[in-house]
């Protein structure tokens, strides 16, 4: 049952053709049953009619035989009544003449009467010689009529008494006998209505005498075909055939009409709808233009077309909206260039195109330096103008067809397919130059606006490498943004750590945990040595985060912090640690501590408050605040004000990493700085035989003459020591004097100073 229901479910609903065929089959069955019923009744009527006709034929036969015998009897009576006949009983002289001429030869008797004889009352023939096989004598039995078979013919022998006219009441004078061909007699007798008289048969043995009354049992006959009933039956059969033919034709026409008028148009319409359905939101098919012959279907077609047109309009509208949405989703509203989503999709596309092919893929990330400071200083409208200007400048610089993406904030990206790394690098440099040369002063910005660029490069066959390009470009970009670095950095393996740090969840967790509870944070102190004495005069507090036996270095921590814009929070933590170390006496009395404050931190009131909280230690310690020139430049006025207040409190200000950034002397002169720390890159330049070393020597000389304490970073060798001393540096910091330690260690005892003393 379940199987049948499932089967039924597969074929349900049925097709119109199925219904049409079902209707035709049903009607055929009905008409078949009616036809069979009619045929059955006709057969029954035929059988009844046959039975009736048989009975009527038997009755007709009895009637005809009775009439025949009556007729013969009348003839016998008529002949018997003739004087001549009776005269034969009186005088037989001319009996033969009478029999042969007056009776048989009279021409008045029918042809089937073959013989006639007269018999005496005793049954003896009057004739000496009877004719035609008439008996010589008839007995009582033979006086009854009987039928006999002689020589292939059936004869009726009939005998009737001849009365004597002289005494009517007396017994018969004799008998008159006839012999007649009974079948001929019956044929001549009348027109038959039921019996086919030509087919009437008698079955008697030769010589057998059968009483006439028993003749019916020996008779067989065939019926006259009933022409009316046959014509009626033929008419009915013809009508049935015509009806059947008409029904078949009508069914065929009905089926064809249903097929052509309903089924086929519906199938085409259904196919059309299927085509629409399978379009899956693609371009809609054309309207169903072929008109349908059924009004309801035509209405459906028109409605469908109208609905289709409206769908198409809606589709177009949605497509436009989709395009708009796509535009909105993939473009940056401020600049009109592609956004991060657009970048990610294009990057996937580039990956799919380049993967497995020897195509060079270069990915460039740009980041505006100190953009937050610009925003904070000049307001967001100006920041937006700067972004738009950068966008414009970059687009002008890039090749036609290169796409520029704004990934967010001040971050931009572009990608090159099928290029070599030098071309990409060249393009990146031109971009940086274009920004450097752009006149941002029209937006009221006094400071120079720079961008940093990180580039990563790979060949398509290096699929894994290809996938790491975004991270690598990011790492390179951060690397480039570091103070003292070039504004453009091409990723190399040395940046892997940074990359690992930036994107390592475990290190991120350690940094953030350290930021939250401060337990893992350690401050290590590196001595800054008096170059004249070789004694440590103060220590630089350097941040370390402990990870078991390992220490996470600032080079790992800062990218994370900067990436999350958590510089101020870190400053607070560091200041807390420094305060604790000061409190606990970890710092040798009389010495000083220099600690770094970030650019954002310098502008943060909490950070400033934390710094001011250290003012209590100014009596015992020299407290120096290290700031980078980039931190000062972005908010020069505000920073100067804050730093001045801190100087007034008693803090000293050191400009860190001088030479890695703008290294502008005009800026330096305006900054409230007590101490300048030459970046290690400048120190290393001193050993180059070029103009830059001379400039640096003169720069150092000028700074010293301007009254600043000049500190040389990166004093790692005796040669550097001698050189910086020679140039007039008063302070020095580097591994030569001591590495950063958890405790404040004295500077290493250098032979140099032994020589000086001696």
């Amino acid at each position: 049952m379940k199987y049948l229901i499932q089967k039924f479910g597969k074929v349900w609903p049925f097709t119109i053709k199925f219904y049409a065929l079902s209707f035709i089959i049903l009607m055929s069955l009905i008409f078949g049953v009616l036809g069979w019923s009619m045929q059955y009744k006709l057969d029954k009527i035929r059988a009844d009619a046959l039975e009736h006709n048989n009975q009527a034929a038997t009755d007709e036969l009895r009637y005809v035989i009775n009439r025949l015998t009556d007729s013969i009897k009348q003839r016998a009576q008529s002949i018997s009544n003739q004087d001549e006949t009776r005269q034969q009983f009186f005088n037989r002289d001319y009996y033969h003449y009478w029999r042969d001429n007056r009776i048989l030869g009279s021409g008045l008797l029918p042809g089937f009467l073959k013989a006639v004889e007269l018999y005496s009352a005793q049954g003896l023939a009057l004739a000496e010689r009877t004719i035609g096989g008439m008996p010589k004598q008839i007995s009582g039995k033979e006086k009854n009529n009987y039928v006999a078979y002689e020589k292939g013919n059936y004869y009726l022998f009939a005998f009737y008494p001849v009365s004597a006219i002289e005494d009517h009441l007396s017994s018969s004078r004799g008998f008159i006998g006839f012999k007649l061909d009974i079948l001929s007699a019956l044929k001549d007798e009348q027109h038959y209505s039921f019996i086919n008289i030509n087919e009437l048969k008698l079955s008697l043995k030769d010589g057998e005498q059968l009483p006439l009354d028993d003749i019916y049992s020996r008779m067989t006959f065939k019926l006259i075909p009933n022409t009316e009933s046959m014509a009626l039956a033929a008419s009915i059969e013809r009508f049935q055939r015509q009806t059947l033919f008409t029904m078949i034709v009508l069914y065929f026409l009905f089926y064809m009409m249903l097929s052509s008028v309903l089924s086929a148009p519906l199938a085409r319409l259904s196919l059309h709808i299927d085509t629409l359905r399978k379009g899956k939101g693609g371009l809609l098919a054309q309207n169903y233009t072929r008109s349908l012959p059924v009004a309801e279907l035509e209405k459906v077609r028109i409605s469908l077309n109208d609905y289709q047109n409206k769908l198409e309009e809606m589709h177009h509208s949605l497509s436009e909206k989709n395009d708009e949405l796509w535009q909105l989703a993939h473009h940056d509203p401020l600049t009109g260039i592609y956004n991060r989503r657009g970048f990610e999709e294009d990057w996937k596309h580039v990956l799919s195109v380049a993967s497995g092919h020897r195509l060079g893929v270069a990915l460039l990330f740009f980041d505006c330096d100190h953009f937050k400071a610009i925003n904070d200083t000049y307001g967001h409208p100006t920041g937006d103008q700067v972004i738009q200007a950068i966008t414009h400048a970059l687009q002008e610089t890039l090749r036609h067809g290169d796409r520029l993406y704004r990934l967010g904030g001040d971050e931009f990206a572009t990608m090159f397919l099928d290029v070599d790394s030098s071309l990409a690098l060249n393009t990146a440099e031109r971009c940086i130059d274009a920004i450097s040369n752009y006149d941002f002063s029209k937006f009221g910005i006094k400071e120079p606006v720079r961008i940093s660029a990180g580039m990563s490069y790979a060949v398509g066959t290096e699929i894994e490498q290809l996938n790491r390009l975004p991270k690598q470009a990011d790492a390179a970009m951060y690397h480039a943004k570091r103070p003292g670095k070039h504004k453009i950095a091409v990723f190399d393996s040395s940046m892997s750590n940074d990359t690992a740090v930036i994107f390592s969840n475990s290190i991120n967790s350690l940094v953030f945990n350290a930021m939250a509870n401060g337990e893992s944070i350690e401050m290590h102190y590196q001595p800054i040595t008096n170059l004249e004495t070789g004694e440590a005069v103060y220590y630089e507090a350097l941040l370390r985060i402990r990870d078991g036996d390992n220490l996470i270095m600032p080079s790992t921590i800062f990218p994370i912090i900067q990436d999350r814009r958590m510089e101020a929070e870190l400053d607070i933590v560091v200041l807390g640690k420094v305060a604790k170390d000061l409190e606990t006496g970890k710092i040798p009395p009389g010495k000083g501590i220099t600690f770094n404050v970030s650019g954002p931190g310098l502008l943060d009131p909490i950070v400033i408050a934390s710094i001011n909280s250290l003012a209590v230690y100014l009596k015992q310690y020299t407290l120096i605040i290290e700031v980078t020139e980039t931190a000062l430049i972005t908010q020069l006025h505000l920073a100067s004000t804050i730093l001045n207040k801190l100087r007034q409190t008693g803090f000293r200000i050191a400009l860190d990493d001088f030479g890695s950034g703008y290294s502008s002397l005009s800026y330096l002169s305006n900054m409230p700085v007590d101490c300048v720390k030459f970046d290690v890159s400048l120190i290393r330049q001193l050993f180059e035989d070029n103009k830059q070393s001379i400039i640096i020597e003169n720069l150092a000389s000028m700074v010293i003459k301007a009254g600043y304490d000049l500190v040389a970073e990166g004093v790692e060798t005796e040669a550097i020591l001698q050189r910086v001393v020679q140039l007039g540096f008063k302070r020095g910091q580097g591994f030569l004097f001591g590495r950063p330690e958890k405790k404040c260690m004295n500077s290493a005892k250098l032979p140099y100073y032994n020589n000086i003393k001696t």
Partner: protein, 302 residues
Amino acid sequence: METAINPGVLRRIRRALLFTTTTCLFLNSLPALAEQVETKLPNGVIATANFHSGVNSVPAVITLHGFLQTQHSPPMSSLASNLSSRGYTVLSPTMSLNINHRSQSMACEAVHTHTMESEVDELSYWVSWLNTKGYKNIVLVGFSSTGNIAALLLGARNTQSSVKHIILTSLNPVFLDTAERQQMRASLNSKQNKTAKRLERVSLGYCKKNYTTTANNYLSYASYDNNKVLELVRDNPVPTEIILGTADTIMPDNWIAKITGINTQNHVTLIKNATHFFDDTHEFDLAEAVENTLKNISINHL
């Protein structure tokens, strides 16, 4: 609209009415005595007749039918009826023609064993039969050929004295083919013994080539041709009345003239426009003529 009535027709109608009225008067005074009688002839054949017993004051009448006919044949049947209704004793025999109990006219084709003489004998037998009934004044009324010839032959025999008068109506000779008669005579003379019973088909009377009989029997009738009949009339000893219809087309040419030309005591009555069988109202003319004769006979001779 006026209708013209033929005076002759009016006269016949008046006569018929008068005859009928008279008959009715007689009927009132007479019992109905008609009966069918039979008599066995000497040859064993039973002959039949219709007998009506009338009054004794008038002669009894024997009506004799025509050739091969019966007592029921016209005009004798109607005449007998008319006469019997007027009180005459009328015997209307059917000549047996050697047929036992003959009651039907004989066909020409039937075997005829009778002869003219046998008929005269039979007529004579009936006269005797009437005689035995007490009728001594008998008038024979013959018709056509054989009826008249039998009456004439019986009269000529002169053996029946009771026959007082003979009335011959529509007297004709026996029509025959003289060549055939000659042939029969010749044949009979040469092969008489062998052919005595041989049947011949001959013409006789109104039978044309189909009258079946022997030569002897044929010749018994064939003798009575025109002349023989005229001779019989002329020589007949019994008073004879002859009644002829002027419109009788069966009569031979100039027959009336020949009859009337016979210089005898016989009286000839012509009924104008009457046919051989006295059709229509002429049967009354015939009856009237016969009765007139019968009246005269009773007045003059009885």
